[in-house]
Symmetry: C2
Subunit: 324 residues, 2 copies
């Protein structure tokens, strides 16, 4: 069976491949919001300990909380109190998620003017998650943007189900692009593409990022991946290769899916930082400090976190061997 | 805070990025060997059920077992009996791992002539795993290659600790390249680079693959990744972008590390296939059949498998929503 050698000869005639990556990226820590929102409520004091540990990692963009109905999301019912504490860390660029203009008013009143607003690209998810169609959700962008801008802040529209919807199936690229364009026209300052249910894959990532950028020149496009099917870090790698420099991640991979028990949630911040820093992409985050923050987070939520890197004990290699 | 818009403008001036991928790759299923080797012994009958399920996935390269000391690896003590059953599936290209010429004789006597032989690129791992230095391990390649070739087969040398060693730290690229060159000179027909402890990252993958190919023109170079730190699929993506078309993976992600309880083992075949097929890379493997094979495997080993995709229930999306 020497045929393999011939296949090899073919391969080595290929052009060399260079992994072209940006020199740095900007990681946003979303564990405090997307991570905690489905957890049993964590006391404010424990959240402040998490924040202390997260700020110590060097991360300078943190999604702190959301101003939504306390009945809908009891875990984040303390948004007003939490917001009042954030001045402790003036070096951090804080953002907060809102679900409607009422939430935006509340956030601005709490001193948070850099807002995120979610629009589901699919009607099925939009109705299930927000009780209205995509078009109705888009219609609120202008008012929320005006509130943010009036307070000296900015509005990022996060497009949920940008690739796939649990109700409607695949989201056509043109549909997500239309939502992106409409959001920017209505006043969004930046966009984020959310793989809400963790189904997308590298080629689809690159295709959608490219399409949205063409449709919205001059607008930063970030990405928000879940690792539900093991492709989260590969998707992040593809996005970064495509020149995306704004990535969401959650400490310890916090952020489970209610419909997939045991499945991973957001991509883990420490895994993203490990992959990128070791590949020469600066994040400004310290891996050991991230593992310490994951420990604080694990104590706060009272259960194991899904991050493989965290469970493996970090970058370093235990001094006992096995396998190949 | 409108600064983000300026950053976006910069981004959109970048050239478009194309994810260039091969049209097809060749996945080798290693769950029967690397996956089972650290498990409590599974009865032969259950192994044959696993094989039946694996062959039904469409995979046409399977690492069936290893011919090593039954005392060292009791889980694979039935190699001779297993080998006798493989003629049931003549469509599959079987391989077996051997640790020395004695094992090669045994494999060939059992009708298995396509052999794999592991050489650790680092002395620390080589001594711990095989009781000899890297140079001593390389010295056996010629004899094993002659045995394989004499039986009409081939020899693949798997370079363990190709990137990192749990004892010696980082393996210099030049050291792994030297081992590769020496193995080929001694008669190896193909090579496989093993990330034994799951520490490597995309840029290092591309760098080493490129260096080994330059040193060994005409020789196929495969990759063997573990997902211990969440980077396994991203490493596979980088390798495939670099033109690698031979990848090892294990059904369900079977194959734990003895020194990192709870950490993932080999990259999961179904996650690799999902990522690649959805990105337009043909594998010949059927995802639903892989999930069925993972169920059979889970029953055989009697514990949960680490694969996120398997735990999430596959590609399809349950009809209930949450999160963004």
């Amino acid at each position: 069976m020497r045929g393999a050698t011939d296949a090899g000869a073919e391969e080595t005639q290929m052009n060399e491949f260079d992994l072209v990556l940006p020199s740095s990226v900007d990681v946003r820590e979303v564990g405090m919001r997307d991570g905690l929102q489905l957890e049993a409520p964590v006391p404010l004091e424990a959240k402040l300990e998490m924040l202390e540990a997260l700020v110590a990692t060097g991360v300078r963009r943190i999604e702190a909380t959301s101003f939504v109905s306390p009945r809908a999301v009891p875990a984040l019912a303390d948004a007003d109190q939490l917001a009042a504490e954030l001045q402790r860390w003036p070096e951090v660029h804080w953002s907060a998620l809102v679900a409607n203009p009422r939430g935006a008013v509340r956030a601005v009143d709490c001193g948070m003017a850099d807002l995120e607003y979610v629009v589901s690209a699919s009607d099925g998810h939009s109705r299930a998650n927000a009780g209205r169609s995509t078009a109705e959700a888009v219609a609120a962008v202008g008012e929320i943007a005006a509130l943010a801008h009036g307070a000296g802040g900015s509005l990022e529209v996060i497009i949920a189900t940008a690739w796939d919807c649990p109700f409607d199936g695949r989201t056509p690229v043109a549909r997500t692009v239309d939502v992106a364009r409409a959001a920017v026209t209505a006043g969004a300052d930046q966009l984020c593409l959310g793989d809400t249910i963790g189904t997308t894959t590298p080629l689809r990532v690159v295709t959608l990022v490219d399409a949205v950028r063409r449709a919205c020149p001059g607008i930063a496009v970030g990405v928000h991946f879940h690792d539900t099917r093991g492709t989260g870090q590969a998707n992040a790698l593809a996005a970064v290769q495509a020149g995306v420099t704004q990535l969401d991640a959650s400490v310890g991979g916090l952020g489970g899916c209610p419909f997939a028990p045991g499945a991973s949630g957001n991509i883990a911040t420490e895994e993203l930082v490990y992959m990128l820093e070791e590949s020469g992409v600066r994040t400004g985050l310290d891996l050991d400090a991230l593992l310490a923050a994951a420990r604080v987070t694990e104590q706060a939520v009272g259960h194991e976190l899904p991050s493989s890197l965290y469970r493996a004990g970090g970058r370093s290699v235990p001094r006992s061997a096995g396998g190949r």
